[in-house]
């Protein structure tokens, strides 16, 4: 029987693999633009969320994209890689993209900083694969809201994430209960990004 021939197994595997792979490739191509658009929208939403007065959850995706395009300036050398919100030519806030390794996979987000570069105006994440119900709680408003108004210009860590219930200061927030590892990584990602940004700005000003 042909099924028992050794060459048939190789030939059969090749044909079956080619058949299923071509369907997967075709389907991925078909949805590629949509996936990329989703990623871009998620990023733009995160940027608007961290800038004061810019985010409105009732806006359609198209309106949000238009607001992002019309009202924000793209990163340049003078902003050291941050998006800027301007009013009458004057910078009113920065939106700094941050990224780094989370507990399971990379975490990507945006941190908003006010015009005098002293205070956080907001924090949002647009990509994370932390544990659902635990580390993934970093995207919840209750965790993110804590960052608003925190001072990042003090000596030492820009932001400290303390254990739940612990006393906190002007640059501290509380961690998510049961998500210590994710919070340690979020703290590192934010602090590295802020320090690098501050150094770049200093170099630009010299």
């Amino acid at each position: 029987m042909i099924r028992q021939k050794r060459w048939f197994a190789i030939f059969y595997m090749f044909v079956v693999t080619a058949f299923f792979s071509s369907i997967v490739i075709g389907f991925s191509q078909f949805t590629r633009e949509r996936v990329q658009a989703n990623q871009q929208i998620a990023f733009e939403r995160a940027v608007l969320m961290v800038l004061p007065g810019m985010y409105n959850p009732e806006l359609s995706q198209l309106a949000m994209h238009k607001r992002f395009e019309d009202q924000l300036s793209k990163p340049d050398k003078s902003s050291a890689g941050a998006y800027t919100l301007k009013e009458k030519g004057q910078i009113t806030a920065y939106a700094l993209p941050v990224s780094g390794q989370g507990f399971w996979a990379p975490i990507k987000g945006v941190i908003g900083i006010n015009a005098d570069k002293q205070m956080v105006t907001g924090l949002a994440f647009y990509e994370q694969r932390e544990t659902p119900g635990l580390g993934a709680q970093i995207i919840k408003t209750s965790f993110r809201k804590q960052f608003e108004g925190k001072i990042i210009s003090l000596v030492g860590k820009a932001i400290s994430i303390k254990r739940p219930g612990e006393k906190i200061g002007v640059s501290d927030v509380h961690a998510v209960t049961g998500a210590t590892q994710t919070c340690i990584r979020v703290e590192k990602i934010i602090n590295n990004a802020i320090r690098n940004w501050q150094e770049k700005l200093e170099q630009e000003n010299q």
């Binding site: 197994a9 059969y12 595997m13 989703n38």
Partner: protein
């Protein structure tokens, strides 16, 4: 007569998948995902939907190809077919429900390694006609889903005070939330309790029937 026989055959397959030979508490298959995705009910529903889709179609496809697939490479072919359906689910979520794709993270991809899928394809799909294989896959996945949803409901309510993200009276306000329930140990406790209860009911029914 033939119609009655076909109906009783389908009923038997359904009863086997849902209860008599339930993948979780009888066959003890697919335990990894039962532990991993059950801390939120919504995530569990989507995961179960993905498994129903993957398992029923994989079993039917394996069955369609069973007369052509050489025996010595059948498991490679089965893995390829399962991976195909899982990737389709993953791409659909990324394109049409990105929020859920983010929530489930790596777990959708891990359906490929779910023992129930390979187990049913190998044990049933490989030896039965496509329609029967489809029904067997579909109801085994539903059997898996009802146990997982039971576990998820208890874990979310006791651990977070919510059900499908909506606050549950008393559990969201007066209840001292059991954080351990949404952490990995909570999954072990709940799985053991649910398995213990359902197996006890099953054994007592079997003894009554004797």
């Amino acid at each position: 007569m033939a119609v009655v026989s076909k109906k009783s055959e389908a009923g038997k397959i359904i009863a086997e998948g849902l209860w008599n030979n339930n993948p979780i508490f009888k066959q003890v298959l697919g335990i990894c995902s039962a532990l991993a995705v059950t801390n939120l009910v919504l995530n569990t529903i989507v995961m179960c939907g993905a498994l129903v889709f993957t398992l029923s179609l994989s079993a039917a496809t394996v069955s369609i190809l069973r007369n052509f697939t050489p025996r010595n490479i059948r498991m490679m072919v089965e893995t390829l077919i399962i991976a195909f359906y899982v990737i389709i689910v993953d791409v659909i979520l990324k394109a049409y429900w990105p929020q859920m794709s983010d929530n489930l993270g790596p777990y959708v991809g891990l359906i490929i390694t779910n023992c129930i899928v390979m187990g049913r394809c190998e044990a049933y799909g490989n030896a039965n006609p496509p329609l029967r294989a489809f029904i067997d896959g579909f109801f085994n996945a539903l059997g898996y889903s009802f146990v997982l949803l039971t576990i998820a409901a208890f874990r979310e309510i006791l651990g977070m005070g919510t059900f499908l993200g909506i606050a549950v009276p008393y559990f969201s306000t007066g209840w001292d939330k059991w954080i351990v329930m949404v952490m990995p140990p909570g999954a072990f406790f709940m799985l053991a309790i649910v398995t213990w209860i359902l197996r006890s009911v099953q054994i007592s029914r079997e003894e009554k029937d004797k």
